[in-house]
């Protein structure tokens, strides 16, 4: 059961426009769609970003700002460490959204699933004392996995059983997760002792994700913050790839995404597939939350997810819902974030410019016709349709 036939037959080129699934999760696309359009999208976003710099700081500010952005992202081990560190939760959350896309589900709730997953991971991280790190770290990460899975299971079940659109339910569950976090962080036994603001106890050192760049032969290598979570994230990207493209389950997920009616007619359980995909998607986002709390922050506080769950949507789009693509896209966004911090410090341009650039990248990716029109790229036309509205 390793090799499965492809879900959709080969489309004759230049005739019927490909389905939305082809659009967001393409199989065989020419290099223009896969490489050229995303590259041009990033380039265009940087150009438009430069316009914003001109408006606020003048023409002279562009070069120093972008130079600082680049050096903060790639020049030197500490920059690379920061870039990959920021990319780590982005990979996991991006995989969560991409997995949903492949099954025709729009998980907009990665943020809430991260929140719950990160919180549960922290609770597991400080509750058990005296465990060896070899046991405690997997346990705490698993707790995050389970917490996120629960938060993804709810909209999955609602969608499968009642038809409640997952976009609405996951948005609402995001806010329920934020409020729950505010509440739970103030409970005795969870709140850090001596504190009156909502903040959790610190994670035991046995549950902190160990840093992995200490061996580098350089001054201050111990200060490089990249932790083992990055390797976990890469492993999960491989697992998702294997699940989607090498297993029967993955085949069913993609079949349900391509055409739920046909999948049902073919004897697959659409209900089980939807619930399972949303649960797994939530679990991946939950791991992203656990990565942040166990690897970087060491505790949970309100808003610790820092909109990573929303960036994940952009990542899944940019990476064409392919695990490998998501990893590359996450590293790009990590570079923008890490470089943005340096840019904020070294030039007069604020880090919020990065948010604008990210939004522009999504616009250009989501509207490939826009990029084609600007750069006159020829090639197969795609539509941007992806979900099917509120009604099922």
């Amino acid at each position: 059961m390793t090799k499965e036939p492809e879900v959709v037959g080969e489309e004759p080129k230049g005739r019927k426009p490909p389905s939305w699934l082809e659009r967001v999760a393409p199989r065989n696309v020419d290099w223009r769609s896969l490489i050229l359009i995303p590259s041009l999208a990033v380039l265009s976003a940087l150009v438009v970003g430069a316009v914003f710099i001109v408006f606020t700081e003048g023409l002279d500010a562009i070069l120093p700002a972008y130079r600082a952005l680049f050096s903060g992202a790639f020049v030197g081990w500490s920059s690379i460490s920061e870039t990959l560190l920021v990319a780590t939760p982005l990979i996991l959350a991006g995989l969560a959204v991409a997995l949903g896309f492949r099954a025709g589900l729009f998980n907009i709730g990665a943020e809430g699933q991260m929140t719950i997953g990160g919180l549960v991971a922290v609770i597991a991280g400080f509750s058990f004392e005296g465990l060896p790190a070899m046991v405690h770290i997997p346990l705490a990460l698993l707790a995050g996995f389970v917490g996120g899975a629960l938060w993804g299971f709810i909209p999955g079940l609602l969608r499968a059983k009642t038809g409640a659109h997952e976009v609405i339910t996951t948005i609402m569950l995001n806010f329920i997760a934020f409020r729950s976090l505010d509440y739970i962080l103030k409970l005795p036994g969870i709140q850090a002792e001596g504190r009156f603001d909502p903040i959790s106890q610190p994670v035991q050192s046995s549950a902190r994700l160990p840093r992995i760049l200490g061996w580098l032969p350089m001054e201050g290598a111990d200060g490089l913050r990249l932790h083992v979570g990055f390797l976990v994230a890469l492993a999960m990207a491989w697992v998702v790839h294997w699940l989607l493209f090498k297993t029967t389950w993955g085949f069913e997920f993609r079949a349900v995404g391509a055409n739920p009616h046909a999948a049902k007619y073919g004897g697959m359980s659409v209900v089980v597939a939807i619930v399972l995909v949303m649960t797994l998607s939530g679990a991946l986002a939950g791991m992203a939350g656990g990565n942040e709390t166990l690897g970087v922050l060491g505790r949970a506080s309100p808003g610790f997810t820092a909109a990573i769950g929303f960036d994940a949507i952009a990542l899944a789009l940019l990476g064409r819902s392919h695990p490998g693509g998501v990893v590359l896209a996450a590293i790009l966004f990590g570079a923008l974030r890490a470089g943005g911090r340096t840019m904020q410090v070294q030039s007069e341009v604020g880090i919020d410019l990065i948010v604008i650039i990210q939004a522009l990248i999504i616009i250009f990716i989501a509207a490939p016709e826009l990029v084609r029109a600007i750069y006159r790229v020829r090639g197969g036309k795609e539509t941007g349709q992806l979900t099917r509205g509120w009604s099922t």
């Binding site: 729009f106 409640a164 948005i171 616009i363």
Partner: protein
């Protein structure tokens, strides 16, 4: 004729019977819960103050009696749902029952104390205003089948432009600029969704991210450096409507508000009339339900969608100005903090109808105001749960447990002219 009418009311679809049963059971659980948790353990009276000062127009009720009454209402509705089904008024019935429950809950939380009801209702209307603007914006867009997840971003840009132009030129220009800014954001959404057929949910998410980035960036680069000349518009004063503001209780709650509240009521009235009584509204709804049929009849689907989406954005932009010109008096980063999403929820709870959207916004505003009051009363009840209420209610509504809400048939689908 009566026989036919009777037949249609008596024969209900199995799905409707099933969801009515679920509702009935939930009502009965609520009835038992209300009686068990609120009525049995409460002693003493609560004084609801209806006037401006204590002693003026006080209304003293027994906390226990109020809770028992609320439990009885739940029980009655449960029985009704289980036997006949409330049918199309189930959302209204739920809203009334929850309203009574809210009173009972207040009585429970404030037993033995007094509570300014007027202040609370006033707070509800104020909290509901931006939510209602957001919800109305959503109704405007979704009636022509364009999903607007970007309400939040439009509110935020409206708030920003309202503050900046309100400071540089003046409040009236600030209001106009806020509406215009919302309209520009909506035009972006419209171009992406209608012309480039970008997935509407993604387009909306992009609008939100872009608006957050843009306003935060400009705020950090420009406003922070010189807030006196860019970010101090001041707050619009309340306008006392003559005669109407003299009505006890209602006068203070409804007719001593600032211009946003009156604008909100005007827009609700205009939209209800426009959507359901004019040719324009009929055409807009036709585009939302069956664009192809509308196109065949000679209605310009694209133009209708552009106009409605941009108008919707202008409503949201105006509502966004409430944050800066109507309540806070200055722009802060991400100051809308999710109100746009509550507006989206209110639109769904209000069944894509302007009046429903307003009612839902008032319910959510009341929950917000209640939460503030509970924090002041120090009742030991965590306010977070009340803040969750709008979101929980929305999930329950979209899951079809409470009167399934049906969106316009073509919602979210781009139109391709053949």
């Amino acid at each position: 004729m009566t026989a036919v009418a009777d037949a249609t009311t008596l024969v209900r679809a199995p799905a409707e019977v099933r969801s009515a049963r679920i509702r009935g059971i939930i009502y009965l659980i609520l009835a038992v819960g209300t009686y068990g948790l609120l009525a049995s353990g409460t002693e003493g009276d609560v004084i609801f103050r209806l006037g401006e000062v204590a002693g003026d127009l006080d209304w003293t009720v027994s906390s226990k009696g109020l809770a028992t009454f609320s439990a009885a209402v739940f029980g009655f509705l449960g029985g009704w749902e289980l036997t006949r089904g409330v049918g199309r008024w189930s959302n209204v019935a739920l809203a009334i029952a929850l309203g009574i429950f809210a009173f009972a809950f207040l009585g429970f939380a404030a037993a033995g104390k007094s509570l300014s009801l007027v202040g609370m209702l006033d707070g509800s209307v104020k909290a509901a205003t931006p939510i209602a603007f957001g919800a109305l914006s959503g109704v405007m867009c979704e009636r022509v089948a364009v999903i607007n997840i970007g309400i939040e971003g439009m509110l935020l840009t409206g708030a920003f432009m309202g503050a900046v132009m309100g400071t540089i030129v003046g409040p009236v220009v600030g209001l106009a600029a806020a509406a215009l800014a919302g309209g520009v954001m909506a035009a972006g959404l419209a171009v992406l969704a209608i012309k480039y057929r970008v997935d509407q949910i993604i387009a909306g998410v992009v609008i939100n991210i872009f608006a957050l980035g843009l306003t935060s960036f400009l705020s950090a680069q420009i406003l922070v450096e010189d807030s006196a000349s860019y970010n101090s518009p001041g707050v619009l004063r309340p306008i006392h409507l003559p005669l109407l503001s003299d009505i006890p209780v209602l006068g203070r709650v409804l007719f001593e508000q600032n211009i946003f509240v009156y604008a909100m009521f005007l827009i609700v009235a205009a939209m209800t009339y426009g959507l359901f009584k004019t040719r324009w509204g009929l055409r807009a709804r036709a585009v939302g339900e069956h664009p192809k049929a509308a196109d065949t009849l000679g209605i310009n689907v694209f133009r209708t969608r552009y106009i409605n989406v941009i108008l919707g954005g202008m409503i949201a932009g105006l509502g966004g100005a409430y944050f800066t010109l109507g309540s806070v008096g200055a722009f802060n980063e991400n100051m809308t903090s999710g109100r746009g999403y509550i507006g989206l929820a209110a639109m769904i709870f209000g069944r894509w109808h302007p009046i429903g959207a307003l009612a839902a916004a008032l319910v959510f505003g009341f929950a917000d105001s209640l939460q503030v009051k509970l924090a002041i009363l120090d009742s030991g009840i965590p306010s977070e749960f009340l803040l969750m209420a709008p979101y929980l209610v929305t999930i329950v509504v979209v899951a079809g447990v409470v009167g399934a809400a049906r969106p316009p048939a073509a919602d979210g689908q781009p139109y391709v002219k053949e």
